[in-house]
């Protein structure tokens, strides 16, 4: 009798577990500890939305105003939290609108799972309404993708998707699920994925490479560390700091590596690349050992490859074997996760200080300060500079804010001058250079870290590419601080036109709307600053606001970003004006 009852209970439990594919999707998300997703409904994904309605106490769905906004929000979420961001959209245009964000996440190694609805499987390939081959379209820009046509395949596909997105070198994945698979009922069970046979997320460190690297580092007289986002992604900040301090080596960052070591750290010598700092660029071509950690020698960092650090021995700490020797030939490649390899190399490293060599960085900084930085941060001319706005934000944030930038002049200035105390505080579109990234990414960042101050900084161009997400900010009551540095130009392109196209300003001048009125239209507090004496007060008011706040600062129209490594030039040919 008793066993009979148990059997009946089991049976009952099984009956409850017989659920639809769409409910399974939501249950999989819950099992992966997803609490916030970003998306936009439509025909082929409606069954999932119906389940999201039922599960809204467990998963908060954020309705963005465009699917691109959903991906950037998911990216912002992932970048500040280190967790997988989730975006969801319908088939056809819903799915294609995700592509920019997916490509951005791919090149910037951001963990993201995108779920798209698809037309019913019997219509696949028939040019059905809102049918598009999103698996084909997204293939070159995803770490992995697949299409699911049967409900029973949903749990395994999503488990694999989350595992692949977050493991190894992270990246975006896309799972396309037909509408009939969403309706179909099946016996649901979920098992997290912990391995995929053909996939090696973290390569083994080759025996002897740590020792070989340590030997070169210990013998170096003028070593330079260049680090990237790998340090952030592997959460190796502590190990990295210990390594830098023990070895006493000046360390410079790529744009995505920013904030892994506090700006104020004495060995942090600044930003690399096209608009990076003078000293690290110049001295890249003078160092005897270049130690690259979790970075990929992007062309914006290296300038002309044939004249990049040719004199130096190169050590590359890297998780992705395909990056080794891709752009810069290495002498020693230390494969593996930065956290583990930095931990392992620390005991092999001699304590050192490289004082004279470090002094060279300080000397060059003085030159840069006199010629560029002073004028950017403490201008005496009439027009407001972008740099002084960042300085005011620093004063108010005390370096604790997360700075989310768009793409262009303001981005370079913000990354150059923003002060960071905490890691995962610089969120920007680095590799893809996606204008329109900033505002929606800031929404995701704020929702992932509601206790942190999140400041979105955009130019007047990029801001208008995803300006509709003000609606999302209003609806979600996301307390994002929005700064637009308005020069009525597509500033970076204009700068290039000035320097390289004899000031032919082809389609870079913008006739802009009343930004304050637009923000106020979304019931967001807003202010416009045109004079220096208004700036500090306005930034203070913005930063003290408990709600979202929009601040437009009208800056000098034809301000340029310097230093600059002209396109195709060597890093040592960096110009100060």
């Amino acid at each position: 009798m008793e066993t009979q009852t148990i059997k009946n209970q089991e049976k009952a439990a099984k009956v409850i577990e017989r659920i639809s594919g769409s409910e399974a999707i939501v249950r999989c998300l819950i099992a992966e500890d997803v609490k916030i997703i970003y998306g936009y409904p439509g025909g082929a994904i409606m069954p999932v939305y119906d389940e999201l309605y039922k599960y809204q106490d467990k998963i908060h769905h954020v309705l963005t105003r465009h699917e691109q906004g959903a991906t950037h929000s998911a990216q912002g979420f992932a970048r500040i939290s280190g967790k997988v961001g989730v975006a969801i959209a319908t088939s056809g245009p819903g799915a294609t609108n995700l592509i920019t964000g997916i490509a951005d996440a791919q090149i910037d190694s951001t963990p993201m799972v995108c779920i798209t609805g698809q037309v019913p499987s019997h219509l696949l390939g028939s040019d059905a309404f809102q049918e598009t081959d999103i698996v084909g379209i997204s293939t070159p820009v995803t770490k992995w993708n697949c299409q699911v046509t049967r409900a029973a395949d949903i749990p395994a596909a999503l488990a694999k998707a989350f595992y692949i997105a977050r493991s190894g070198r992270p990246g975006p994945v896309l799972v396309d699920i037909t509408k009939d698979a969403q309706f179909e009922e099946f016996d649901f069970s979920y098992e997290k994925c912990t391995k995929v046979r053909s996939y090696v997320p973290i390569p083994k460190t080759v025996t002897g490479t740590l020792e070989a690297a340590a030997k070169i580092i210990n013998a170096a007289r003028k070593p330079l560390i260049v680090w990237g986002q790998g340090v952030v992604l592997s959460e190796a900040e502590e190990q990295f700091k210990a390594f830098v301090e023990k070895a006493g080596i000046p360390a410079a960052w790529t744009i995505l590596g920013a904030s892994a070591l506090p700006t104020s750290h004495p060995l942090n010598v600044g930003m690399l690349g096209m608009h990076g700092n003078y000293a690290p660029n110049k001295l890249t071509n003078e160092c005897d050992v270049l130690i690259a950690i979790g970075m990929r020698f992007d062309d914006r960092v290296t300038g002309k490859l044939d004249e990049y650090a040719r004199q130096a021995k190169v050590i590359h700490f890297e998780i992705d074997p395909a990056e080794i020797d891709k752009n810069v030939k290495t002498d020693v490649a230390v494969l593996g996760d930065a956290k583990a390899t930095l931990d392992a190399i620390l005991p092999l490293i001699n304590t050192n200080s490289h004082k004279e060599w470090h002094q060279q960085f300080k000397d060059l900084y003085e030159i840069e300060y006199e010629k560029v930085i002073k004028g950017d941060l403490y201008p005496t001319k009439e027009g407001l500079t972008m740099g002084e706005v960042i300085k005011e934000i620093n004063i108010q944030s005390k370096g604790d804010a997360a700075i989310v930038t768009d793409v262009g002049q303001h981005q370079m200035i913000a990354c150059r001058y923003a002060e960071f105390n905490k890691t995962k505080s610089n969120i920007t579109s680095g590799g893809l250079g996606t204008m329109g990234f900033g505002l929606p990414a800031a929404i995701g960042a704020k929702m992932a870290a509601p206790d942190r101050e999140v400041v979105s900084i955009s130019g007047d161009g990029g801001y208008q590419m995803t300006i509709q997400e003000l609606g999302t900010i209003f609806q979600q009551k996301a307390a994002v601080k929005i700064v637009v540095l308005n020069n009525d130009f597509l500033g970076m392109v204009r700068q290039w036109q000035q320097l390289f196209f004899e000031k032919r300003y082809a389609s870079t001048e913008m006739v802009n709307p009343n930004f304050v009125a637009i923000a106020e239209g979304y019931y967001i507090k807003a202010k416009k600053v045109t004079k220096r004496e208004e700036l500090a007060g306005a930034v203070k008011e913005m930063m003290e606001s408990k709600e979202a706040y929009f601040l437009e600062v009208c800056v000098e129209k034809e301000g340029n970003v310097f230093p600059m490594v002209p396109s195709g030039a060597s890093v040592s040919e960096i110009r100060l004006a």
């Binding site: 993708n145 697949c146 395909a322 080794i324």
Partner: protein, 176 residues
């Protein structure tokens, strides 16, 4: 490393997967590399597919391509070899009018000397099959084309390496 372009045979062991061909071919497309020949078949290991891709490029570039291929989640392992390191074959099929066998008796000699095999004959046409190096198949084509060929097609290269490819062992380590 050799900076001259040469023919390389790339062997890619993969999980069977619908989208993988797309993924792999995209790697070549991005770098503007023409695929000279492509063959996909089962491999010696059950459930593991093998891509055999022939490209004309420098060793430095082929190494980078191998890295990009191996990075794909469902790729188990990729190798590259030059012609000396592989035993390779292609196959060609020729459809020819049957009456030419009688009108042009040299054809019979060509068939004999080329070691080509007659696959089928009927009153309208016969089909010849020739396996070997690409040059041998092309040579036969050149000899026959003067008489007129109704249809001609050539397969991609299939190749076996002289070196051992320890895929089973590799899979063993992955499984553990």
């Amino acid at each position: 490393m050799n900076k001259e372009k040469q023919l390389f045979t790339i062997s890619v062991y993969t999980e069977n997967n619908i989208g993988l061909l797309n993924r792999i071919s995209a790697i070549f497309q991005r770098r503007h590399i023409n695929i000279e020949s492509l063959n996909i078949s089962p491999s010696e290991i059950e459930g593991v597919a093998k891509f055999t891709i022939v490209v004309h490029m420098t060793e430095e570039d082929v190494k980078k391509i191998i890295g990009q291929i191996e990075k794909q989640v469902e790729v188990i392992k990729a190798y590259y070899h030059n012609d000396e390191e592989t035993i390779y074959q292609i196959s060609g099929l020729f459809k020819i009018k049957s009456k030419l066998l009688f009108e042009e008796p040299q054809i019979q000699n060509i068939v004999k000397e080329s070691n080509a095999r007659i696959v089928t004959v009927n009153k309208d046409f016969f089909v010849l099959e020739k396996s070997g190096k690409k040059e041998e198949v092309v040579a036969l084509y050149n000899q026959l084309s003067v008489f007129g060929i109704m249809q001609y097609t050539r397969s991609g290269r299939v190749a076996i390496t002289k070196e051992e490819m320890k895929i089973s062992e590799l899979l063993e380590t992955y499984n553990n």
